[in-house]
Symmetry: C2
Subunit: 322 residues, 2 copies
């Protein structure tokens, strides 16, 4: 079977089945936002790799080298944060066409360092290769207090599902860039920020599960439910979509709800919590968007009083964003 | 300046100048085989990223997917081993053209796991991206007892320079593959093995510096001397070159000494030790190939009683191996 006929989930599942981790000090291997390793009596070590390939995950037609460097770091920070962790160190592997100018490397590392220093992350190594097509792969190491570790698998029937902020902005921004149109969503695509500080507060407040929204709300909810062994109902009218995202979606003839559900790359957080935590969580500006239900009830979207299946959306193996 | 006009050393130095690590628990950042981090009272954490790009570092015309997976892991293990460390965990980021067959992923991960399991390494995560050109980037985490850490910077005037085994085999093998010729060196190129067990013994025996030979003996000696602040004399007639490498070099019309000095990718070890350690080290089958001298005497090759400058050799930014 050709890889393009497989979904990304299928590819990862194929690898996960092959890789059977037996070593006792790997608490979690493939299958959550990060790998979780034994580290000390009070902490786990977290490890994550995020790769951005030119014309697949972004395009140098729109992005400055600085923005690529920033997005690569923010994307890896977002995964560490989604497990309640603090990012500490990163390694950067880059592949770069040999006819690029050296100022590209200067800008790229400038962007990486600007994002990294904001979180207190040290860039400790990596490598630089020649490559016909530009890519960057960031490996991030972090730590999390044992009692503060939040996984995708802790959601329980009756928990509420919450979201940290507006969705769909990055996808609307990408749409505008492709059509050479203007709008404030563009910066959501070019310069997304990980919700690191909020994630720390949520993990301390005692939530049951969390993941970052890198692939769109719908696929992230599906992964969270699969890991937790639950179903879910998402309330379409509660999904936060900013007015600027709605405006930009309108310009593009796109349905704002669709891009919020399937757009991805907003790096907001989706998480679950017991009902009795809601009052203490609301002060963080987070919104209830649904409820965890029994697995047998499936994963549904409640839209205009109609309950429908929540589609997986955009999950095929991406060949081009251009 | 275009990147192709720069040497790899210049590119890395440009990045190193930009990245000023201040955090106190980074013992070593960019500039040795691995980054070295504080970990526990008795151990350091080692971290390394190695990237292989199709048609730059290898070619899928010659390599099976299994061999690429194995070489990627061996290459990262070699760097951890060269600091006296044990590899523990790895993350694999791959970029794969969408018209590849899924059996490619199966073979690639099979190769990675086969090498990894031999060293007791757990593959704990990574990511899979679509990419127009295939690449694989392995991030390896390891540990080393504090007193067993060996760097590139510990060589001192009067130390002897030793090498773990035959050089030039990988380069001869590549030459044969390009000319569609046959010879036993081919397997040195396709299936190199890291000298992990030997490196452990050497680190325990008390050597002063070490690095693995991934770029050829000459550039590795230059890096070791630059880090240690010394010069060196290499004895051309003492460099170990196997008879099969010599035979294969002859078929190709290549000078065996040249490919040993500049060929790279043999993953043997070059290291330095005080003279009084030589007797205890010789039992490991290692060979004395030179001597550390004062920096002001430079880095020289003693060939047929003539002392000449040791050229850097192949250090431009590689665009293609094909």
């Amino acid at each position: 079977m050709k890889i393009k006929e497989m979904s990304e989930t299928e590819v990862i599942e194929m690898i996960r089945r092959k890789v059977k981790v037996k070593i006792s000090n790997v608490k979690m291997g493939i299958g959550d936002d990060c790998a979780v390793l034994e580290h000390s009596k009070t902490e786990y070590l977290l490890a994550k790799t995020c790769t951005l390939v030119d014309n697949v995950h972004f395009s140098l037609e729109y992005f400055t080298p600085e923005q690529v460097g920033m997005k690569a770091v923010e994307s890896a920070v977002s995964d560490i944060a989604a497990m309640g962790g603090r990012p500490d160190y990163c390694l950067a592997a880059i592949g770069i066409p040999h006819d690029f100018d050296s100022s590209f490397i200067d800008g790229l590392y400038g962007g990486m360092l600007s994002s990294a220093s904001g979180y207190g992350i040290s860039l400790i190594g990596g490598d630089v290769s020649s490559s016909p097509n530009f890519f960057i792969s960031i490996s991030m190491l972090g730590t999390v207090a044992r009692k503060q570790l939040v996984t995708r698998s802790g959601a329980r029937k009756g928990d509420m599902i919450l979201c940290s902020g507006g969705l769909g902005g990055s996808a609307a921004g990408l749409g505008l860039l492709r059509k050479k149109a203007k709008g404030s969503s563009i910066m959501r695509h070019l310069e997304p920020k990980a919700r690191h500080d909020l994630a720390q507060k949520l993990a301390k407040a005692g939530i049951t599960s969390m993941t970052d929204i890198s692939d769109g709300l719908a696929p992230e909810i599906r992964k969270l439910c699969a890991s937790s062994g639950t179903g879910a109902v998402i309330y379409a009218d509660k999904i936060p979509i900013s007015s600027s995202t709605k405006n930009d979606a309108k310009k593009l003839g796109m349905n704002p709800l669709d891009i919020a559900l399937y757009g991805g790359e907003d790096f907001e957080l989706v998480f679950t919590a017991a009902k009795n935590k809601l009052d203490s969580l609301r002060k963080f500006g987070v919104k209830v968007i649904g409820k965890i239900v029994d697995k047998k009830n499936g994963i549904k979207l409640l839209d205009k009083n109609r309950l429908q299946a929540l589609e997986s959306g955009f999950d095929h193996f991406r060949s081009s964003l251009k």
